[in-house]
């Protein structure tokens, strides 16, 4: 019987942003603004205590590889997957990919030999120009963004079918947008039969916001535990063949950093942690 590998894809919610160890922080700010040593500590905490390891344990998987990266786009996540995993032989593993889809408005391009993601909040001039054009049309501009996302979803679907991996898709954004995706793209890989956003429901409740910095909506470790439980319950209900006996401990690895061909990115992003999660 093959060992079970869970690969998780997504943005900051998958990286585990919000799982701060407040005792090891000199100030209550976004991790990107912390002194380098503190940022390393906090990011390791994110990677350990986010939903991927928790879900892996509940599902009874042997190993979790978390590709989640804060600020990343759907296209950037697919590029990253192709860079790191398309040539990797995982034939000895029974692989499940859970993809927590990022908000569709983000885009990516290679820059300086590395995948660079662009978010609406960046005020990047290329991004602003792109938005200007899609907003000039007679159609709902969301649809153009979603069609880009659907293209990238189809790519991962192909890859999974090619390799015999299982795949589950669920959104990190509001269900209204996900309904639009589902109307444009029928897929057997959606986590839920009806459009549902487990993460959005949890965030809307407001009970588990990390609030670091003040107002930040990422989840606390308790929030990610509830999210992992919600995911587990839906998988058990809709995809029971993917569920095994829960594990006491699993091996996990965070591999969310894009390949840094010219050494332009800080070391923290180049590290792959491998550890045990109990």
């Amino acid at each position: 019987m093959k060992k079970k590998l869970l690969i998780t894809m997504g943005c900051s919610y998958t990286e585990g942003v919000g799982c701060y160890d407040v005792d090891k922080m000199s100030k209550s700010v976004h991790y990107g603004f912390l002194p380098r040593e503190e940022e390393i500590i906090q990011r390791k905490n994110f990677h350990k205590l986010g939903w991927p390891n928790r879900l892996g344990k509940k599902l009874g998987y042997d190993k979790v590889i978390n590709l989640g990266l804060g600020g990343s786009s759907t296209s950037g996540q697919v590029k990253q997957f192709f860079e790191k995993h398309v040539d990797r032989d995982l034939s000895e593993w029974d692989v499940l990919i859970v993809w927590l889809l990022s908000e569709p408005s983000r885009i990516s391009f290679y820059k300086n030999g590395c995948i660079e993601n662009f978010c609406p909040s960046d005020s990047n001039t290329m991004y602003v120009e792109y938005l200007k054009w899609i907003n000039q049309t007679n159609y709902d501009p969301d649809v153009d963004l979603l069609l880009e996302n659907i293209f990238h979803i189809k790519i991962i679907e192909q890859l999974c079918e090619s390799r015999g991996y299982s795949l589950l898709l669920t959104p990190a954004y509001e269900p209204e947008l996900f309904i639009k995706i589902q109307s444009l793209h029928k897929s057997k890989y959606y986590l839920n039969k009806t459009p549902k956003s487990l993460l959005h429901s949890l965030m809307k409740s407001g009970n588990y916001k990390c609030n670091i910095p003040k107002g930040d909506g990422h989840l606390t470790p308790d929030g990610y535990e509830i999210f992992a439980s919600d995911l587990y319950n839906e998988i058990k209900l809709n995809h029971p063949h993917l569920v095994s006996t829960p594990k006491n401990k699993i091996i996990w690895q965070w591999d969310g950093a894009p390949i840094d061909r010219y050494g332009k990115f800080p070391m923290i992003l180049n590290q792959i942690h491998t550890d045990i999660f109990k």
Partner: protein, 248 residues
């Protein structure tokens, strides 16, 4: 798959040209083509003219010639003028060809990958491609990728980052072909990005030697004086070069 060079653009049937156009054409060579050298000539480049020549493009471009050499029964030519590698891949997925509607065929996918600098986005629910300097979006993209000191310039544009984008699309198409048990051969339209492609991608399905004849004095007969693309003879040569690589 490919751009105008796959669509067969350049295989003009001059009997479809107006007398005025034929007269003007006399002054032009492939180095100084009719379309491209003089903006006033653009009025001749009408949808009607393209439409009259579509069949010529289709039957005399490299895909039809290669199919003959390979003994292939049916061709689906996805070549589209001015398209990007990303746009071509998007079009392929948009048509759901990745789901393999050709299960009863022995399929070979040949991709003449266009210059890597082009980008694409969905706008108005359509795949819009942006060529060099063609659109404000491309100009902003260029500003974005130019911002580092690079030695990989071609005509002032960095090559390596756009080539990494193209490698991503190559890998996607390779995955599709493996899944569907199709044969896959990709060729570069120019040598400019071949070495960068090879630096980052070792797949045998990419043939880095350019199959396009050089536009020099010896090869002028292979190029169209109408648009500067290859002509019927030029595309025959491309097909022969491709066939020789595929056969080996």
């Amino acid at each position: 798959m490919g751009c105008s060079h796959t669509e067969g653009y350049g295989c003009w049937d001059e009997t479809t040209f107006s007398d005025e156009m034929l007269l003007k054409l006399k002054k032009h060579t492939p180095i100084n083509p009719f379309f491209g050298s003089d903006n006033s000539n653009i009025k001749f480049h009408t949808n009607e003219l393209i439409s009259k020549n579509k069949n010529n493009f289709k039957t005399k471009g490299w895909p039809a010639n290669l199919a003959k050499l390979m003994g292939t029964a049916d061709i689906l030519n996805l070549g589209k003028g001015a398209s990007s590698n990303s746009g071509q891949t998007k079009e392929f997925f948009k048509r759901n060809l990745h789901k393999n509607p050709y299960a009863e065929y022995d399929v070979t996918l040949v991709w003449l990958m266009t210059e890597p600098f082009r980008i694409s986005f969905y706008v108005n629910r359509k795949i819009e491609n942006y060529m060099i300097d063609s659109h404000p979006i491309w100009k902003e993209y260029f500003k974005e990728i130019i911002s580092h000191h690079s030695k990989d310039m071609f005509n002032g544009i960095p090559v390596e980052d756009p080539t990494l984008e193209s490698i991503f699309y190559f890998n996607i198409m390779e995955t599709v072909c493996i899944k569907n048990n199709w044969k896959f051969h990709a060729f570069p339209l120019t040598n400019v990005f071949s070495k960068y492609f090879r630096k980052h991608e070792s797949s045998d399905n990419f043939h880095e030697n350019c199959v396009m004849p050089l536009l020099d004095d010896n090869n002028l007969k292979l190029y169209s004086h109408v648009c500067g693309h290859l002509n019927e003879m030029g595309y025959q040569q491309v097909a022969k070069s491709m066939y020789s690589v595929i056969k080996s």
